[in-house]
Amino acid sequence: MSAARAAARAASGLFGSVVGHGLYAILAITAVGCAATVKTDGYFANILMQAATYAIAVFGLSVVLGLCGQINLAQAAFFALGAYAVGLGTADYHIPFWICLAAGMAIAFASGGLLGLSTLRLGGHYLAMVTISFQQILTVVLLNAVWLTHGPDGVSSIKRPDLFAQGQAYLALAVAVLAITGYVVWRLANTRLGRAMRAVRDNEIAASAAGIDVYRTKVAAFAICAALGGLGGGLFAGGFAYVSPDQFAFSDSIVFLTMALLGGVASPVGSVIGTGLLILIPEWLRFLKSVPGLYLAIYGLAVIFIVVFMSDGIWGFIAGMFRRPATAPARPARSLVLKPADSGAPIALEVRRLAKYFGGLKAVDGVDLTVRRGGVHALIGPNGSGKTTMLNVVSGLYRPTAGRILVDGVDATALSAHRRTIAGLGRTFQNIRLFRSMTALENVVIGAERDGNTQVEDGHAATVERARAALEFVGLGDRYGDLVTSFSYGHQRLIEIARALAGNPTVLLLDEPAAGLNSSEKKFLHDLLDKIAAQGLTILIIDHDMTLVAGVARHLTVLNFGRRIADGDTVDVLRQPDVVAAYLGAQ
């Protein structure tokens, strides 16, 4: 797929409902107009300038924290990078403002990206500590690299662009940039990248199983956040004409974080509310600043209170009261097209001498498995026989100790989990892994967005269409707009299957789909599997329910103690004495 097309696909969804956009445009134009024309005194203009530039940086946090669920405790440092780029560039080196602003954003973007690249493979704790470190190191550098930064004296006589040299015009510029970035951040949530971020936030393993590059998505979120910090900082420097290291300390990063949390990280509206409140309230409570520390102590306490009592922030609370019920679909979904049995070579999935050891435990010990295209192949065995480990190695969650895995004839042994999904594997999980903050449709859309899904190359509408078809296929088409958490356990399993099917996989891996289902749900599942098999899609299923397995599977592989003890046609295998012994005990 060409880069331009990929970008278009990533950006599709930026343009959604007409009413919302109209409202937003009117609001934004009014705000810019007011900023440009309404006369205010210098004090109030300064507050507005600070609020507008800070809010841009807080938008960044709503991306990284709200959408992607990662923490950034160095937003003031990225803000400082933008501010110093504009400050030093225009004052010392006489470079035009716009170039400095762009350079500041680029520097912040690059540092955020590098910081993310070094840390984001690891857990969130590392990121928290590394961003704190980065923040403190930057402060040390700003103070000590006097030849570049002027040290504690700071940078003064920072220039603005000629067109916006006058205070009111510059404020209008800041508000306009705020409106534009706010729009982008607002719409980002419903783009492919935004959905990937939310998927990562909700469930990283499921996200990679749906074909999302978790690491790259996190790094992207982090770099975007840093770039918005740099943009806000650059505008801030132009607005106040003076910057110094103490404006961008760790405590300011906490202030940014508090602004994001107070307003609510889920939406840029929350960012604006939080920023506005936390700039105005301290102005009203100026007397608190006479006691050093008191003001920040209250901030610290506020952070705890917000997290404990109001985890969604002010806007999250308000928006929660107005959650729109899903509207019924205007037209019925199309029928779902799956990969037919004649879509390639006769072997869909091949596993050779696969082994997985955990220390001394040989969970899977040299197993061969050949899954023929167009059939249902079951992998069975007693508890602890290595079935789920095998599936996890095949789908890329575990690295094999030895052996090879070929998907559609292509060696996938070295591929990461999301690359194997792109290569054609789709899977479900024994313990259901859905994106719990999203609707059923959104969950399935993420599955349909798999790179390499030939069914949805005509843009976002086709993707949504396919997702609806997949939900219809599993019998949940009319509840597509409901949050997945409102579905029963059995229905959540079906949504997971729909998510995998929507990606149009070559092989569908089902990890104990019948576990925890009641008898009527099992019957439904059985019928569903027959329906999938009837279209010719290749299935590899693990389950304990022998009625189900014997009913749907044509081919059976039996594992015990990590080794293959039988393989062949279902009817034959179930008659073999060692299989009976493994299941029922020797007589």
């Binding site: 520390g293 952070v303 985890s311 969650l397």
Partner: protein, 291 residues
């Protein structure tokens, strides 16, 4: 050579402090699966309590020490109830944010009460130190190393050879299973927080005579201690101790031979190097999440 030995001694002394604070990190992490970002603040608060009791009020050093440690135990308990416990069933992100809030709150409350001027806390002994061959052994550094060895030994005995220690270990490994076996998990977590606060407090009181007692000392120590836990391998007790000692030595040599103003940057550099090339640390090995 003499200078090298002298620096090694100093580095081990500072490193022992990092190791103690790192131990606090690790214990809370193992019990609750979250990193307590206010761990450094425990050291800072304890140092200020010592200044209040021993300097301002002029009470005996040992009594002040006991009172300060008692105060830390109380703080640990309040911290657990106010900062961790309400969020125990949420993901780690809100808990991190909450402990960061607590860290800001503690540091700035002390600032509001005590003002920004750094305070001086005298050492435990009147004798400044002894000359031992080419190396001058500062009494406070000797004390730090001795106390660290004693605490590590105590902790080993406690966790491996007492029933309470076993229960704490069980809680940290599998809370649900521990609860099913009748172990009062909430109380075990409470004990962990109290013990970690005391540990952090002891580290703060020991290091205070070497550094100035300041609002920033908490975050500085915490950053180093966290780097130490990563060097050692996250969640590993022996790793935290060795990582702390190694970091103290690296930093002391870096300051002596490379640059003093950027002394604090070495910890960050080592942290980044480890994250890039050996993120599991020297000893740590994490098991993949079960799918």
């Amino acid at each position: 050579m003499d200078l090298v030995l002298q620096l090694l001694f100093t580095g081990l002394g500072i490193g022992a402090i990092y190791a103690l604070v790192a131990l606090g990190f690790v214990l809370i992490f193992r019990a609750t699966n979250v990193v307590n970002f206010a761990q450094g603040e425990f050291s800072m608060v304890a140092a200020y309590l010592m200044v209040v009791f021993a300097v301002d009020l002029g009470w005996p050093y040992w009594l002040s020490f006991l009172l300060a440690i008692g105060g830390m135990a109380l703080l640990g308990a309040i911290f657990n109830l106010g900062v961790y416990y309400p969020l125990r069933n949420r993901t780690f992100l809100p808990v991190i944010i909450s402990t960061i809030g607590a860290s800001i709150f503690l540091a700035n409350t002390v600032l509001a009460l005590y003002g920004p001027q750094p305070q001086v806390l005298p050492g435990w002994f009147d004798t400044p130190g002894v000359q031992f061959g080419p190396v001058y052994l500062d009494s406070q550094y000797l004390l730090i190393i001795a106390v660290t060895i004693a605490l590590v030994a105590f902790q080993y005995w406690f966790f491996e050879h007492t029933l309470l220690g076993k229960k704490l270990q069980a809680t940290s490994q599998d809370k649900e299973m521990a609860a099913l076996l009748g172990i009062p998990v909430a109380r075990m977590i409470m004990i962990t927080f109290v013990y970690s606060a005391v540990l952090g407090g002891i580290a703060g009181i020991l290091v205070a005579p070497i550094l100035f007692v300041s609002i920033q000392m908490g975050s500085t120590i915490a950053l180093k201690a966290f780097a130490a836990t990563i060097i050692g391998g996250f969640g590993d007790v022996a790793g935290a101790i060795i990582g702390g000692l190694a970091l103290g030595v690296i930093e002391t040599f870096g300051a002596a031979y490379i640059s003093v103003p950027y002394k604090d940057a070495f910890a960050f550099l080592v942290l980044i190097l480890f994250l890039a090339f050996r993120p599991r640390g020297l000893f740590g090995e994490r098991v993949a999440e079960k799918a």
